[in-house]
C-alpha cells in the first residue's frame, strides 16, 4: 500500500485539519467530533441540513457543506459510520428552530447510528427527520433485507434539498422532497480496480488483471457479477440498461445524468464514458436535460465509475439549477 499518510489511525482527523486550513472562510471544522460546519450557520429560520457517513468518499459529504447544500457533515473513520454523539452534536449545531433533516445512505451502520442520534436529538428538543437514500440497483430491492445501498443519488438529494432549504421550505416539505428525489433516482457502478483502506493495507477486492466488478458498492462490496474487461461502449451499456430499466425510464422522458468517478479514474475516461452514456440514452429516447460529470462520491482510490439517473420534475430542476457555493460544487 502506497499512500500519503502517517499513522492509518489518524488519516481522517489529519485530513480534516487540511480541510480546515484550506477553507477557513467557508468551513468550520470540529476536529474532536469530526464535524464540518458551514461558517455563519445555523441560518435563522432555515431547516438544518445534515449528512455524514464513513470517510473515504470525499468530496462527499464534507466538500458539500455551504450555502445551497449542507449545513454540516459528520465524518466517521474510513468507511465507518459516525457515531450518535457526533451526529447529535451536529444536529444541535445546525438547528435554527426549523428542525433538522438528516440525509442518510442506506447502510445498516449509518441507519442505526443516525436513528439513535435522532432519538437523542429529539430528547434535546430538536425536531429531526431522516431521508434514506437507497439507489444502488446492483442490490435487489426487498423489504426483508437491508435493502439497497445508498450511492450517487445522495449527491443529488443533498444538492436539490439544499437549495430548497435555502429557499425556505419547511422540515416536512424538505423531507418529502428528499424522499421524492431519492425515490426517483437509481444508480449502478463498475470497478476496474480495488480501493485500499489505509487501516487494512491491502486491496479490498481481489480483481484479476483483466477482471472488473459490475455493480460494485462504494466500499468495494460485491456487485452483480465479475467479468472480463470490455470496451467502454459495452460497459456503458451495462450501466445504462439496468438503471434505465429499474427506473422504468420510457422513451420521451427526461433525465438528469450524474456520471461519477470512483477516485482512481481520470477525467479523460470519465468524459469518454459520458459520451457513451449520453449516446445510449438518446438511442433509448431519453432526453438528458442536466448532467454532472466528475469524481464527487469516491471510494478512496478505486478505479471505476458509477451512473446515477434522476427522473426530475420541474421543482427539482429549478433547485438543481439554484446557486450552490461549497468547496466541491459551486455554481
Amino acid at each position: 500500500m502506497k499512500k500519503f499518510i502517517n499513522d492509518p489511525a489518524d488519516v481522517v482527523v489529519e485530513a480534516l485539519q487540511g480541510v480546515a486550513l484550506a477553507h477557513p472562510d467557508r468551513l468550520r471544522v470540529d476536529l474532536e467530533r469530526q464535524l464540518v460546519l458551514r461558517v455563519g450557520g445555523p441560518v435563522p429560520g432555515k431547516v438544518g441540513l445534515l449528512s455524514g457517513g464513513g470517510a473515504g468518499h470525499e468530496p462527499l459529504h464534507s466538500g458539500f457543506v455551504g450555502p445551497g447544500m449542507l449545513d454540516a457533515a459528520c465524518c466517521g473513520q474510513v468507511f465507518t459510520s459516525p457515531v450518535p454523539d457526533q451526529i447529535l452534536a451536529a444536529a444541535i449545531a445546525v438547528d435554527a428552530g426549523a428542525g433538522v433533516l438528516q440525509i442518510v445512505k442506506n447502510y445498516t451502520g449509518d441507519v442505526l447510528n443516525f436513528e439513535m442520534a435522532a432519538e437523542l436529538a429529539e430528547g434535546e428538543g430538536v425536531r429531526v427527520r431522516t431521508v434514506l437514500v437507497a439507489d444502488d440497483v446492483a442490490v435487489e430491492d426487498s423489504l426483508f433485507t437491508a435493502g439497497r445501498r445508498g450511492v450517487g443519488a445522495t449527491v443529488l438529494v443533498e444538492k436539490i434539498v439544499g437549495a430548497a432549504a435555502e429557499d425556505g421550505l419547511d422540515l416536512d416539505a424538505c423531507t418529502a422532497l428528499g424522499e421524492q428525489v431519492a425515490g426517483a433516482s437509481r444508480s449502478m457502478g463498475i470497478a476496474l480496480g480495488s480501493c485500499t483502506v489505509p487501516a487494512a493495507g491491502r486491496p479490498t477486492v481481489d480483481l484479476g488483471p483483466d477482471e472488473i466488478e459490475i455493480g460494485v458498492g462504494i466500499h468495494g462490496e460485491p456487485g452483480r457479477r465479475r467479468q472480463a474487461l470490455a470496451p467502454a461502449r459495452e460497459l456503458a451499456a451495462q450501466l445504462v440498461e439496468p438503471v434505465v430499466e429499474d427506473l422504468e425510464l420510457r422513451r420521451g422522458e427526461r433525465a438528469l445524468v450524474f456520471l461519477n468517478g470512483l477516485g482512481g479514474t481520470p477525467q479523460l475516461e470519465l468524459y469518454l464514458m459520458f459520451h457513451e452514456v449520453h449516446r445510449q440514452l438518446k438511442e433509448r429516447g431519453v432526453d438528458v436535460v442536466r448532467s454532472l460529470v466528475g469524481s464527487f462520491l469516491t471510494s478512496l482510490d478505486m478505479a471505476g465509475c458509477s451512473l446515477t439517473l434522476l427522473r426530475p420534475d420541474e421543482p427539482m430542476l429549478r433547485w438543481w439549477d439554484a446557486p450552490v457555493d461549497t468547496p466541491a460544487l459551486r455554481w
Binding site: 465507518t80 450518535p84 454523539d85 445498516t108 442505526l112 439513535m116 437491508a146 462490496e221
Partner: protein
C-alpha cells in the same frame, strides 16, 4: 445473585475474551462483511471495561447505561448501536435492585434482546447476532422458569448462543452488509453472532 461488581466483572471478562478473539472476529467479517468487527468490538469493550476503573457507580442500572452509551459511541458500525441498545435496555428491569436474581436477569435479558430487535429489525434466520441472542434468551427463560440456579441459567444461555452462532454458518444473510452477498454469504459463520456468543459466555463466567 449478581451485584454491581459482578456486572463489572462481566464487562471486563467480555473485553478480555473479545480481545483474544478479535482477529478471528475480523476474519469472519472479512469473509462476508467489511473486516472491522474485531477492531470495532475490541475498541468498544476496552473502553467499557475501563469505566469501572475510572468511575464510581451508584447502581447496576447506571453502570449498564454508561456501558451502553460507551459502546454506542466507540464501537461504531452496525454493531455499536445494537450492542449499545442491548446494554442500555438491560438496565431497565434492574433499576430497583443492587443484587439481581434469576428472575430479574431473565427480564433484563429479554429487554436487552428486544432492544436489539427494535433497533435492527432482524428475524431469526437473518444471519445476525440475533441468531445467537434469541436462543440464549429462550434457554435462560426456560431454565429460570424451571427453577435452575443463576449459574445454570447462564450456562445454558451461553451454550444456546454458541449453538445459535454455529447455526448461522449455512444461512443466507438478509440483514447487514453480508446481505449484499446474497447466496454467497452462506458457508460462513456470522461475526456478530460470534461476538454475542463470547459476551454471553463471559456472563456465565462472571455473573452468577
Amino acid at each position: 445473585m449478581a451485584d454491581l461488581t459482578a456486572f463489572q466483572a462481566w464487562v471486563a471478562q467480555s473485553a478480555r475474551s473479545i480481545g483474544e478473539h478479535a482477529a478471528h472476529l475480523t476474519d469472519l467479517d472479512r469473509a462476508i462483511g467489511d473486516g472491522d468487527h474485531g477492531a470495532n468490538m475490541e475498541r468498544g469493550f476496552t473502553a467499557s471495561a475501563r469505566l469501572a476503573e475510572d468511575e464510581q457507580f451508584s447502581g447496576i442500572d447506571t453502570y449498564l447505561k454508561k456501558v451502553g452509551m460507551t459502546l454506542v459511541s466507540t464501537v461504531g458500525g452496525a454493531s455499536g448501536p445494537l450492542y449499545g441498545t442491548f446494554f442500555l435496555r438491560l438496565a431497565g428491569p434492574l433499576s430497583a435492585s443492587d443484587d439481581a436474581g434469576a428472575r430479574e436477569l431473565s427480564q433484563a435479558l429479554r429487554a436487552g434482546v428486544e432492544g436489539i430487535v427494535a433497533r435492527g429489525k432482524a428475524e431469526r434466520g437473518d444471519k445476525t447476532m440475533y441468531d445467537a441472542f434469541a436462543p440464549a434468551l429462550a434457554a435462560f427463560e426456560e431454565a429460570a422458569h424451571t427453577g435452575r440456579t443463576i449459574q445454570e441459567c447462564l450456562d445454558q444461555a451461553a451454550r444456546a448462543a454458541e449453538e445459535g452462532r454455529d447455526a448461522t454458518e449455512p444461512m443466507v444473510a438478509r440483514k447487514g452488509r453480508a446481505s449484499y452477498l446474497g447466496e454467497r454469504s452462506a458457508g460462513h459463520v456470522d461475526p456478530g453472532a460470534s461476538s454475542a456468543a463470547l459476551v454471553l459466555r463471559a456472563a456465565a463466567q462472571t455473573l452468577a
